[in-house]
């Protein structure tokens, strides 16, 4: 089937052109952060990048593919443990270990998907959590990596990363930035591809999508595996910066799933901008209220509940509803050109 000549599908809008220009300017400023920021700023920004990446990946999974997983900590922890294992037991540089952690996570995700995809909806959610628990309990049985109490990355591994401490901070910062940019770029490109169209179709009506020849399960499994790949790399990076790993920290459901879900929902689920907005809100709350300890976590839970009940599309959803503003050129618009071409005689 060929489309008529006078019809085009476009992605960009005026707001997305302005948005992308601002994004590029912002990225240049962030890439230069080692020049204008101190050590604490770099650490804070790196942590924010990790959460943006994790939340964007969860958003892809839940917001676009409809796979609400509460077990993504499985791949954060797995990636982290692979990095530690490769660095400590095989002497591989952490720089190489990060992509290898992603590959390992994706490879494990294949059989895991075979199991958890037997469960649907809510049961899928808790099924993924149990898988993460299995990973955590298995990790605490590995005595070469410290068992239940965990282990630290040897100083030699860190020193090999870059000659000076300052340069190491820079390298780790840039890796974090590169990883979050790569994650966002991957998601944008995926959603603009025909897989993205398939995902949106499945999200809107799985039955209708299947009737139009989309293999819904296959598409979802592919997204699940791709998400595991990204999540594994982010996990490896997070624990490279922490320098210390333990099963409870690496496979923490609160740190790597509850907060990530809260961030995505507060920012706006099903939109690329959502996780970014949510991460900024999350860190603003944390920097101002962290002294309150457990009370802060209770407030975070409360804010997430209130946003879900009052504004289910999140803060960015409110912005879009009010101004129709979209930073990333994702929505397909059909444009009819001014002068329609004369009908062809075939």
């Amino acid at each position: 089937m060929t489309a008529p000549d006078n019809v085009r599908v476009v992605f960009t809008t005026r707001s997305s052109r302005i948005g992308m220009a601002l994004c590029v300017a912002g990225l240049v400023a962030l890439a230069a952060a080692p020049v204008w920021g101190g050590r604490d700023d770099l650490a804070l920004l790196s942590e924010m990048y990790a959460y943006v990446a994790l939340a964007s990946l969860w958003n892809l999974l839940a917001g676009y593919a409809g796979l609400v997983s509460v077990g993504q900590q499985a791949y954060v922890g797995l990636g982290a443990y692979v990095l530690f294992a490769l660095a400590i037991l095989a002497g591989i540089s952490p720089l190489w270990a990060i992509p290898m952690a992603g590959i390992a996570a994706a490879a494990i995700a294949v059989p895991v998907a075979g199991l958890v995809f037997r469960l649907r909806g809510h049961y899928f959610a808790i099924g993924t959590w149990i898988v993460a628990e299995v990973f955590r309990l298995t990790a605490s049985q590995i005595s070469a990596l410290g068992g239940g109490s965990g282990t630290s990355l040897p100083a030699a591994v860190i020193v090999a990363l870059a000659p000076s401490r300052q340069l190491r901070d820079f390298v780790e910062y840039w890796i974090a930035l590169a990883l979050v940019i790569a994650t966002l770029a991957f998601i944008v490109l995926l959603l603009r591809s025909r897989y993205g169209l398939a995902l949106k179709a499945i999200r809107d009506s799985e039955l209708a999508a299947t009737c139009n020849g989309i293999d819904a399960t296959r598409t979802k499994v592919l997204v699940y595996i791709a998400t595991a790949f990204g999540t594994g790399m982010v996990g490896a990076l997070i624990f490279l910066q922490k320098l210390r790993i333990s099963p409870d920290a690496a496979f923490s459901v609160n740190d790597w799933t509850a907060f990530v879900i809260f961030i995505t929902v507060i920012g706006g689920i099903g939109r690329i901008e959502g996780p970014i907005v949510g991460t900024v809100v999350f860190f603003l709350l944390r920097q101002t209220l962290a002294d309150l300890g457990t009370l802060y976590l209770m407030m975070l839970g409360l804010v997430a509940i209130l946003v879900m009940l009052a504004a289910p599309k999140g803060l960015w959803g409110l912005v879009v509803a009010r101004f129709g503003f979209s930073v990333f050129p994702l929505e397909r618009r059909v444009v009819f050109d001014e002068a329609p071409a004369a009908p062809e005689s075939r």
Binding site: A62, V68, V70, L115, R118, L119, G121, H122, Y123, A125, I126, G127, W129, I130, V131, E133, V134, L137, T138, S140, Q141, G148, V253, N254, A258, I261, F262, V265, I269, G293, T294, L295, L297, M298, L300, G301, L302, A304, I305, M308, L309, P312
Partner: protein, 288 residues
């Protein structure tokens, strides 16, 4: 003889898991809601029992008279004011809201009671044993706990299939729109289902508190045990849920006997094996 003992202990603990599972399965059956805070509510019930026994100076079993109504009222209010607003086609809102509740309950308990683990004292009954002959002894308390679990499952079965309330539950579960046309107020039916679920949670919480030490962080693990029991037993079957709890308990007991570090892992593996070999569960009622 050693193995008979291990399996017997597993069966008795399994009754507790079946109680965790029954409340979970009840609300999922009626309103398709998976309550992520289920485990934290069990721990909350345990703490309420702790406060009740300490302030009133009564025994844990007597405290059920207070804990069960308190939890049932909590459930009714929770459903009426919060969870009813999350129900719909989208599965994320109930999941996220109960996740938020879970974080709030956990950290609230942590603020009030600290992370120190505590235990309910039940007095002489804790150490009383029954001789089953040929060297097998069973604690009176685990036996009582098991009997209560069977009674709870039987009671739920009775409510579901022999009473007007149960008929309302089943009708709403089958088709909420038609149930409403027949004069049922779905919001009230859901609130009653949550009240019943948390009444079961209260019983489970008190027995959990008597059986072992507990602390605010234990909720999620109880949720997972309950969930595993539901899936192993098969969706929609209460007696299947009891069987699922027993199988989980026995798997954990065998794992723990082989290596203390394997207890929980063995339960998870039993669950994954059932999922791989028989995803509909062992005794499914609904065929989908």
């Amino acid at each position: 003889m050693e193995w008979i003992n291990v399996i017997l202990q597993g069966v008795l603990v399994g009754g507790l898991y079946a109680m965790f599972a029954a409340g979970l399965s009840l609300i999922f059956g009626v309103m398709r809601l998976v309550n992520i805070a289920h485990g934290d509510l069990i721990v909350l019930a345990a703490y309420i029992a702790l406060v009740t026994t300490q302030t009133l100076g009564i025994g844990p079993l007597t405290s059920l008279l207070i804990v069960v109504p308190v939890m049932a009222l909590t459930g009714y209010a929770l459903q009426w004011f919060v969870l009813n607003r999350t129900l719909g086609d989208d599965l994320l809102p109930p999941l996220l809201v109960t996740f938020g509740l879970s974080v709030i309950i956990q950290n609230g308990l942590l603020t009030i009671f600290t992370a120190d683990s505590v235990k309910l004292q039940a007095g002489a009954i804790e150490v009383a044993t029954v001789n089953l002959g040929s060297g097998v002894y069973v604690g009176l308390l685990p036996l009582l706990q098991f009997a209560v679990a069977v009674a709870v499952i039987g009671g739920l079965q009775f409510i579901f299939y022999r009473t007007a309330l149960g008929r309302a539950f089943r009708a709403t579960a089958d088709d909420p729109a038609v149930a409403q046309l027949m004069g049922l107020d779905n919001r009230r039916v859901f609130a009653l289902a949550m009240a019943l679920s948390l009444a079961v949670v209260a019983i489970a919480g008190v027995f959990l508190a008597v059986r072992a030490n507990f602390d605010p962080s234990q909720g999620p693990a109880r949720l997972i045990f309950g969930f595993e029991a539901v899936i192993i037993g098969g969706l929609g079957s209460l007696w299947g849920t009891l069987a699922g709890g027993l199988i989980l308990g026995v798997a954990q007991a065998i794992g723990a006997h082989l290596n203390p570090g394997w207890q929980i892992l063995a339960g998870h593996i039993a669950f994954l094996v059932v999922l791989a070999v028989r995803p509909q569960g062992l005794f499914p009622k609904v065929r989908t």
